[in-house]
């Protein structure tokens, strides 16, 4: 029911069963997994504002967005990739590699900063294309491919720059990365490209035929293939997009810290995947929505910031976020199980899509 595939054909052929399945609009919104995450986010903000010292200050939102920006950006393509049932573990390594490439192209090769930035995004896209080729056209499992390229890209980055770093970037660029959109408001500049990309990904994923293909692949890629979705091309494109976004994040990370290093963003891929799953995307594919993911990233960010300001150590924070993630994954399977039972007890009356998705779940 929270799948966002448009089954207009099914609706035309079997209007009665579809109507029996569907609920009023407000119920579908309120009962959705994404709504729960958004509600949790708002609750966390309201609670922190009243209970946590310094949280209610002007800097909180600035640091929150600035610290979460990389995860927010990388979560956009990652959501689409996980919805197809694939995964990309190499994004953080791509960030490291493009950070190094950006720094070296500017400092060592003497390219202008603009050209260096464009080339870095291109390098990110090439990294993504390499993943995409192996996954989509050679047919290797993405988890294996991207574990390999996670080490490969990071290795190339370390090979290129070793233990050194590059720091000579023009102040106008490093300042821009840290600046606020409005002087007296806490929103950092990075929110502009993020909002643009988020809208682009939302349109692509939720309101375009390409996006419907993405969801169909996640539910059943063979069926998607027979309904005319170019499965390989869709997957390959998503990996290329993930690489290009990682390239952009590589530039942002470099500018906001002022340092191009091979170790930039080590371990970030797990935070991205964790946030995507918390946001309600099914690791088995076929299910999820971007607004849930964005709320998921911000929820983790708010909890971290509130606990930091409260003086908690990082280990406690990790335990809390880990428990939250496990609970969120558990709640998904518990809900799925409950729905399955309800569907089974209702029997043939609601045959339509319910038994459909139940059948798929048992396959996966």
């Amino acid at each position: 029911m929270s799948t966002l595939i448009d089954h207009s054909d099914a609706q035309a052929q079997a209007p009665r069963s579809y109507a029996a399945y569907s609920r009023p609009f407000w119920q579908r919104v309120v009962l959705s997994r994404e709504f729960a995450v958004v509600a949790l986010l708002i609750a966390a903000i309201v609670y922190s504002r009243s209970q946590v010292d310094y949280f209610d200050g002007p800097q909180t939102m600035y640091y929150l967005f600035r610290d979460s920006a990389s995860i927010l950006l990388l979560a956009l393509p990652m959501t689409a990739i996980i919805i197809t049932g694939e995964i990309d573990l190499s994004v953080a390594s791509t960030v490291g590699l493009t950070s190094v490439a950006f720094g070296m192209l500017h400092s060592d090769a003497g390219f202008s900063i603009t050209v260096a930035a464009l080339l870095a995004i291109l390098i990110g896209a090439v990294c993504g294309a390499f993943n995409g080729f192996l996954v989509a056209y050679v047919g290797l499992p993405s988890i294996a491919v991207t574990i390999g390229t996670m080490a490969l890209f990071r290795g190339i980055a370390a090979g290129l720059l070793g233990t050194e770093s590059r720091t000579d970037f023009p102040d106008s660029w490093t300042d821009l990365a840290k600046e606020r959109i409005f002087e007296d408001q806490p929103y950092p500049m990075i929110l502009i490209p993020f909002v643009v990309l988020a809208i682009a990904f939302a349109l692509l994923l939720h309101f375009s035929p390409f996006g419907r293909g993405v969801f169909e692949i996640g539910l059943n890629d063979e069926a998607a293939h027979f309904t005319g979705v170019d499965v390989a091309r869709t997957k390959a494109m998503l990996f290329v997009l993930a690489g290009a976004v990682a390239g952009f994040v590589g530039i942002y990370t470099t500018l906001v810290t002022g340092v191009a290093r091979a170790e930039n963003s080590v371990g970030l891929e797990l935070q991205v995947i964790a946030a995507v799953l918390l946001g309600g995307v099914s690791i088995f594919g076929g299910k999820g929505a971007l607004h849930g993911v964005i709320a998921g990233v911000l929820l983790i960010g708010v909890i971290q910031r509130a606990m930091l300001l409260n003086g908690q150590t990082i280990n406690i924070i990790n335990i809390v976020i880990g428990v939250l993630l496990v609970l969120s994954v558990m709640s998904t399977s518990l809900l799925a199980g409950a729905r399955h039972l309800v569907a089974a007890s209702k029997g043939a009356r609601t045959s339509g899509r319910t038994s459909d998705s139940a059948g798929k779940r048992s396959l996966s």
Binding site: T60, M61, L298, L309
Partner: protein, 342 residues
């Protein structure tokens, strides 16, 4: 592309609610970011390279003792792993909390500068200790011993222990650790200049992780069968290397020296695996850093040439590049190790 109105509407609704909730926090309420109000004393936040590292546990215990002596508020926060990104988060948090001073051991000379800059803009004094940032980004660096002295004492010890001839290797911490790389560079220069029969054959990195350092030691002995000595200028590395050597054939044949803490090295000195190693007193380092932070906050010192008193340790003078030197490294061996407990 066909838009589905309901879905679009729901997305828009949810986004609006979320952004309203977030904007509410934005407001222009300037509450809280100034200092802690009267009566609390000087608030000092220590940010080590990582938490749970015995070296920093010792140095920060010294810091805590000092802060208690001058009636301030002590706090220790830090990342679980030695990463600059993690430290940036804690620097930002302390800035937001309006602490008076930060005492930081930098995981990267450049990556912290922006965050430190924001802290200093908010009138927070920033002291680095153990590992420095670029000199222009902090107020003061508390140097445990000058690098030349540290390099020299380690080369002297290894030269004495291997008869001033043979192959030696370095077991370092992280490959981008500022102080480690500087010491190793100076040791290589010193060996090249004054010890013609000693040959440096390898530098390996244990990432300040016990198991990694242990494994690197094993690999080092395997790939260099003629190795005469190992210099490990990191307390985690030397202890792991000593643990490996103490149970291997190389015990007594391959000399091990470097920088270690007496408590970690005691059993290896007693069983003959290690003859002599060096260190400053990390407790004194943290103690001195806390008093220096206090002197900065009170406006007693501003830069080169100014002097201040650091409790029991006596008087110190701020040197070139706004650096304060703790003193000469100290050599620990079987004769004196029993006198120390840290």
């Amino acid at each position: 592309m066909r838009f589905q109105n309901r879905r679009l509407a729901s997305l828009a609704a949810v986004t609006m609610v979320a952004s309203l909730a977030l904007t509410a926090c934005g407001g222009d309420d300037e509450s809280g970011s100034s200092s802690d109000g009267g009566g609390g004393g000087t608030t000092v936040t220590f940010i080590p390279k990582n938490l749970g590292n015995p070296y920093f546990d010792t140095s920060n215990a010294g810091g805590k003792k000092a802060v208690e002596e001058f009636g301030g508020k002590y706090e220790e926060v830090g990342p679980a792993e030695g990463s600059p990104d993690g430290q940036v988060t804690y620097i930002n948090t302390a800035t937001q909390q309006g602490r008076n001073a930060l005492v930081i051991s930098a995981n990267d000379p450049d990556a912290l500068c922006d965050a430190i800059g924001e802290a200093r803009d908010a009138d927070i004094k920033v002291v680095t200790y153990d590992a420095d940032t670029n000199p222009d980004c902090r107020d003061l660096f508390i140097n445990q011993a000058d690098s030349a002295g540290i390099a020299k004492v380690q080369v002297e010890m290894i030269a004495e222990q291997i008869g001033d001839a043979g192959e030696v290797a370095f077991l370092s911490a992280a490959a981008n650790a500022t102080n480690q790389n500087e010491w190793i560079g100076l040791m290589e220069d010193e060996i090249a200049a004054n010890h013609p029969d000693i040959k440096v054959v390898d530098t390996v990195y244990g990432d300040d992780d016990d198991q990694t350092s242990f494994d690197r030691t094993a690999a080092l002995l395997q790939s260099h069968p003629n190795l005469k000595g190992i210099i490990s200028p990191t307390t985690v590395g030397i202890a792991a290397a000593a643990r490996y050597l103490s149970t291997s054939d190389a015990k007594g044949k391959v000399a091990l020296t470097g920088l270690g803490t007496p408590n970690q090295m005691r059993e290896y000195v007693e069983d003959g695996t290690v003859t002599e190693f060096a260190l400053w007193n990390p407790g004194d380092l943290g103690y001195l850093a806390a008093f220096a932070a206090k002197a900065l906050v009170d406006g007693d010192i501003e830069g080169e040439g100014d002097t201040f008193t650091a409790g029991d340790l006596g008087e110190f003078t701020v040197g070139a590049d706004n650096t304060v030197l703790l003193g000469e490294p100290f050599r620990f061996n079987a004769d004196n190790i029993a006198d120390f407990d840290f």
